[in-house]
């Protein structure tokens, strides 16, 4: 029964993955063919179709690297290098991860504080929300270099500027989600607290906070992914020596497309892991709160 549901879940995913890989190979051949043709003409090489296709899939600096090239790169740089090596994806992922987590923690905290303020103080409700929404319409690619440069001018470098960009992106979903969550109790549940002559503080802790938990975790899932994007974007203009962002940048400088794709894959894996961890957290809280299993 259990394995059956597992199979029915994993089946569609694998189908999509297979489809993507097929399209990816086709795209690699098609995109790399002109350059290969050019190369062959100049080298006066004639080859069969199969040989030609094989060559398009094994260029050192292809326009679109083939899946197996990327996979090999990821594997080598993850498992075959020392973790402290500058070429290790684990090392770069860790650099990005640390600022992602710091930014996510700050962002969640800030988002919750803002939500609590908005729910409890009428003036904040009216004044803060438009600004919060406006903050997210500013393109992060424009803001990030300024923040990094300004902070560097006052000798704040390293993790903090990157974490700040992550914070900037991640506080928003949490703030919006928590405002909704803290306001989610029914009138009847609030009336009940009133009949007990409960204080605001008691109503907050015993009703609003528990009622907001599902909203918190849903928005944290969005926030953690946004934090990662923030950290990667923040690594681009810093000329950061390390991190997935700097790996992407270096790859584009030196046309190391395979390296770039490998870094992208590492970033996606990181995102999947982070979102999964938040999801597991949500499920643990659900279980503690006696939520009816679906």
């Amino acid at each position: 029964m259990r394995s059956e549901t597992f199979a029915s879940r994993i089946g569609p995913v694998l189908t999509i993955v297979a489809t993507i890989i097929v399209i990816w190979y086709a795209a690699a051949v098609w995109m790399n063919a002109p350059f290969q043709r050019d190369l062959d003409r100049r080298g006066d090489v004639t080859s069969t179709t199969m040989e030609f296709i094989a060559k398009t899939l094994s260029q050192p600096k292809p326009i679109v690297p083939a899946p197996h090239q990327v996979a090999q790169n990821v594997f080598e740089n993850t498992f075959l290098r020392k973790v402290s090596s500058n070429r290790s994806l684990v090392y770069h992922s860790w650099v990005t991860l640390s600022s992602t987590l710091a930014g996510f923690a700050f962002g969640t905290l800030l988002g919750v504080l803002i939500a609590v303020g908005i729910v409890h103080v009428k003036a904040l409700d009216r004044s803060l929300m438009p600004w919060i929404i406006a903050s997210q319409t500013v393109p992060i690619l424009a803001i990030a270099p300024m923040v990094v440069v300004v902070l560097a001018a006052i000798n704040v470098t390293g993790l903090i500027p990157k974490a700040l960009i992550s914070t900037y992106l991640s506080f928003f979903p949490v703030a919006v989600g928590m405002v909704k969550g803290l306001r989610s109790p029914d009138i009847i549940q609030l009336d009940l607290m009133r009949t007990y002559n409960a204080s605001r503080w008691q109503t907050f802790w015993k009703l609003r906070v528990p009622a907001s938990m599902p909203f918190l975790f849903t928005s944290m899932k969005v926030a953690v992914a946004a934090s990662l994007v923030g950290a990667i974007v923040a690594e681009l203009p810093t000329g950061a020596a390390a991190g997935i962002g700097s790996k992407l940048l270096a790859g584009s400088y030196y046309s190391q497309t395979i390296d770039m794709w490998a870094a992208l894959i590492a970033g996606s894996l990181l995102a999947v892991i982070l979102v999964t961890i938040v999801g597991i957290g949500a499920r643990l809280i659900d279980r503690r709160m006696g939520v009816r299993p679906a």
Binding site: D191, T195, Y196, Q202, K206, M289, G290
Partner: protein, 263 residues
């Protein structure tokens, strides 16, 4: 105010007008009423007659805009602040993240009872509503009737003398309802509380009450107050007796007199 000493709720010319965008709505108008200690008073009438509003005024969930009202000799706000009443809503309003036990403990936590006191009271009130052994369940694991019983236990836990019940069994089927009515009477006899009970079922009102307040809408007002002649001890079969049917008839007449059957 010359309310007698035994009067729990005393309303004089009570009025409440809601200001809405469509103009004022007279939810209650010139309501005079005494609820004596130990009474079981039902408020009956069609929707919009102000019966729930009246209960909410007693509970200080709404403020009257005219007249006077005292609860236990105090203003409703003072009465609420000194936790004079337990309120049972139309829906159980149990907190889904708390077990039944924890839901019943909620008012005790808020009112600062000690842990041992909390334990004893939860045990006692769950026994009282026949939910012994269900304390560790979550609300969704219980039927609608059991959930409403749990919410009654929650209202009883801190031993307020006055119990305000707003159509507590309205959403339940008739079989469960009969059963709960019978249990409620036993509970009332055992705890000697004063109960104000809102309903729109004539048999329910007649079966339960010592006093039936018939109300009519637009403006919400009291059209008749019927003192029941039925004995306090009431088996379900009492509903077949001529005496019961006569009271029911009078309630129906009262509702008709208030033009409640129109529209």
């Amino acid at each position: 105010m010359n309310a007698s000493a035994s009067s729990v709720v005393s309303a004089r010319k009570l009025g409440l007008t809601f200001q809405t965008s469509d103009g004022p709505v007279h939810a209650l108008s010139v309501v005079d009423l005494e609820v004596e200690k130990g009474d079981f008073v039902s408020f009956i009438g069609p929707s919009g007659c102000g019966k729930t509003t009246f209960l909410r005024v007693i509970a200080d969930l709404e403020k009257n805009t005219a007249g006077e009202i005292t609860v236990n000799g105090m203003t409703p706000e003072e009465a609420r602040k000194s936790r004079c009443y337990g309120y049972v809503f139309q829906a159980p309003a149990l907190y889904p993240w708390r077990t039944i036990e924890k839901n019943v403990v909620l008012p005790l936590e808020i009112m600062g009872y000690s842990k041992t006191e909390q334990k004893q009271r939860v045990q006692r009130t769950l026994d009282l509503v026949n939910l012994t052994g269900f304390g560790k369940k979550y609300p969704w694991q219980l039927s609608g009737g059991m959930q409403q019983r749990a919410s009654i236990a929650r209202a009883l836990a801190f031993d307020a003398d006055l119990l305000l019940m707003d159509e507590p069994f309205g959403a339940l089927d008739e079989i469960v309802r009969d059963h709960l009515n019978e249990q409620l009477l036993k509970l009332w006899a055992a705890t000697e509380k004063t109960i104000c009970f809102v309903t729109h079922s004539i048999p329910e009102a007649v079966y339960l009450s010592t006093k039936i307040v018939v109300m009519s809408p637009r403006p919400g007002r009291v059209t008749d107050v019927i003192h029941s002649t039925l004995p306090r001890e009431r088996p379900l079969e009492i509903r077949e007796t001529p005496e019961f049917l006569e009271i029911a008839h009078r309630v129906r007449e009262g509702l008709r007199a208030g033009h409640s059957y129109e529209e």
